[in-house]
């Protein structure tokens, strides 16, 4: 096992720097685009149509701060593993263990949410074809197992395919918007709810909607996972990530516009597949087929990427002995983290088969939110331990500490948003992380090699 692990480490050191800003953009948009196809609309359910749009833009501001901060730290800690590697070098092992868990839980819950959506989509289409009451569970199980098997066998081909089907899903949103604008819908766009019932929950609804507003962009920070493979991190990471956020902001606004105009907000706030539902309302069979394929592609691509990212985060923690080293093994033939892939399958299945979509999404959002909160003090500690000029930074973000403070403020508002309606899940999730942290510090940490946790060629941090 140790030989294969060492071989994997050697292989990682040799990763080629071949990616440009366009690749970074594609990576970010590819992970996140599914957020336009499902989940974002629960923000409309929590606050109404206007609140959904405000949440979309405020969440865009949150992710702009995330991109600014992450671009500086990642272009300096240019190691595979993204925020996990950052936490090891800047805050400490327990924080890194938590950040690793944030990544695993956010991606595994997103994978479960994608599988639920595929089952729901097929059930809806079966109902439209006169076969109502389709059992969704076999399709959910099949989706997770098939994608896990693909990842087990190696993902190069499937990730390349991901790029194509994500592009298709993006074009489908544009085509739907243009078609509706040019009269392809049998039912007119209607925004009367904006004037008749703009804020059904008052101003509190705008804050509450922020909870699911994050779903429009959740995962864009995954661009930083590719830091080791980017030709010019200083230029490519901030440019690619910011371009990705701008693309998603446009796509999110178009999605809100079409869905809010074609679907009553009370339905939209509960819809499992809002863009496909918007196509159904148009009565245009071509658009229905297009958005059916778009939804299926976006969810499949996202679930595939999630299995890839979650298993690699779990594998990294196994390799560092934060988890049993058994997970740090590489498959002798396929060279994939096969044990981590297999271990996470039952967890994804349990939540995909036994929990409602909005609650699975909430678990994913909460893990992401905890990760964004970490970024705020991580940034401050990074500048304090290694002030500007003491180490070579790939990129220095402007106006420090304003982005960190703004990010902290929006994170605080989002915790309150989750508390409104989903407070018990917030407490359940934090209980999970607190117990896991105590388990790590008082038991698991004894198996960790201390000095191996700091690998960057930096001077001693100030204050230590």
């Amino acid at each position: 096992m140790s030989n294969t692990t060492a071989a994997a480490a050697q292989e990682r050191l040799g990763l080629l720097r071949v990616l440009g800003p366009g690749h970074v953009w594609a990576l970010g948009v590819g992970i996140v685009l599914v957020g336009e196809y499902m989940g974002w609309n629960f923000s409309v359910g929590k606050g109404g149509m206007i609140a959904g749009l405000v949440a979309c833009w405020v969440a865009g501001l949150l992710y702009t701060c995330v991109a600014m901060i992450d671009s500086e730290v990642t272009s300096t800690v240019a190691a595979a593993g993204g925020q996990y590697a950052q936490a090891k070098h800047i805050v400490g092992p327990l924080m890194a263990f938590n950040v690793g868990l944030f990544l695993v839980m956010a991606y595994t819950m997103l994978e479960a949410a994608n599988a639920i959506t595929i089952g729901f989509l097929l059930d809806t289409v079966a109902g439209m074809l006169g076969h109502s009451g389709l059992n969704q569970k076999p399709f959910i199980i099949l989706t997770i197992l098939a994608l896990a098997w693909l990842n087990y066998r190696g993902v190069l081909a499937s990730l390349s395919f991901n790029f194509i089907i994500t592009a298709f899903a993006f074009v489908a949103i544009i085509v739907l918007f243009l078609s509706v604008q040019f009269g392809a819908s049998a039912v007119p766009l209607d925004f009367s709810a904006v004037s008749n019932e703009p804020l059904p929950y008052g101003w509190l609804g705008i804050v509450a909607a922020l909870h699911f507003g994050l779903w429009y962009y959740l995962g864009i920070e995954g661009t930083c996972q590719a830091a080791e493979e980017v030709r010019s991190p200083a230029r490519s990471l901030p440019f690619g990530t910011m371009a990705g956020i701008m693309t998603l902001l446009i796509a999110a606004t178009l999605t809100w516009y079409v869905c809010s105009g074609l679907i009553p907000w009370e339905y939209l706030g509960n819809a499992g597949t809002p863009l496909f539902d918007a196509a159904r309302v148009t009565g245009n069979s071509g658009l229905m087929v297009l958005l059916f394929i778009g939804t299926a592609f976006a969810t499949t691509a996202s679930a595939n990427g999630c299995i890839n990212d979650a298993s690699r985060a779990w594998f990294s923690m196994g390799r560092d002995r934060y988890l049993p080293s058994w997970f740090g093994a590489v498959h002798p033939h396929y060279r994939t983290p096969y044990r981590s892939i297999v271990f996470l399958v039952p967890i994804a299945l349990i939540f995909a088969l036994g929990a409602p979509l909005d609650q699975v999404i909430t678990f994913s959002i909460l893990s992401g939110l905890l990760g964004y909160t970490f970024m705020t003090f991580n940034m401050v500690m990074f500048r304090r331990k290694w002030p500007l000029g003491t180490i070579k930074r790939g990129y220095v973000h402007p106006w420090h500490p304003l982005p960190a403070l703004l990010l902290l403020l929006i994170c605080g508002a989002t915790y309150f948003a989750v508390f409104l309606g989903y407070g018990t899940q917030l407490i359940a999730m934090l209980s999970f992380y607190i117990i896991a942290s105590l388990w790590f510090h008082f038991w698991r940490y004894r198996f960790v090699r201390r000095g191996d946790q700091f690998t960057m060629p930096w001077p001693r941090p100030i204050g230590y």
Partner: protein, 127 residues
């Protein structure tokens, strides 16, 4: 001298894996399964509902029909369901304490571990 971690046997690793699995399912899934967590959205359906009483204009009625809700009665529960955002300040303060407490706990315990990492990587300052 560098810290030498103990070697963990197969049984110990299996126990750790089992603990993680139980922790994940116990803390996250069990509250959902027992109905202790979830969205507090409750329908308040009208008696003898009409589209007008439910505040739906002609265009919205067309939209509901296209979505498989042909009459007001079928959409009654969905249209009238609302979240209850009344909350107690005590619950809000408890939540804030738990969130802040969690980060304080993790950063403080990390700090202790980080000092060991730095001491081993760069050498003890006293030496």
């Amino acid at each position: 001298m560098a810290y030498q971690p103990p070697k963990q046997g197969l049984v110990g690793q299996i126990v750790d894996v089992f603990v993680l699995l139980v922790l994940t399912v116990g803390a996250l899934y069990l509250p959902l399964y027992l109905g202790l967590a979830g969205a507090a959205k409750t329908p308040q359906p009208l008696e003898n509902p009409t589209w007008e009483a439910l505040g739906q204009n002609a265009a919205e009625q067309q939209q509901w029909a296209a979505l498989g809700y042909p009459d007001a009665a079928s959409a009654n529960e969905m249209i009238t369901a609302r979240f209850d955002y009344t909350f107690s300040w005590t619950a809000l303060i408890v939540m804030a304490v738990v969130v802040i407490g969690y980060f304080v706990l993790v950063v403080r315990l990390s700090e202790k571990e980080y000092r060991e990492v730095i001491a081993e990587r760069f050498g003890d300052r006293k030496n």
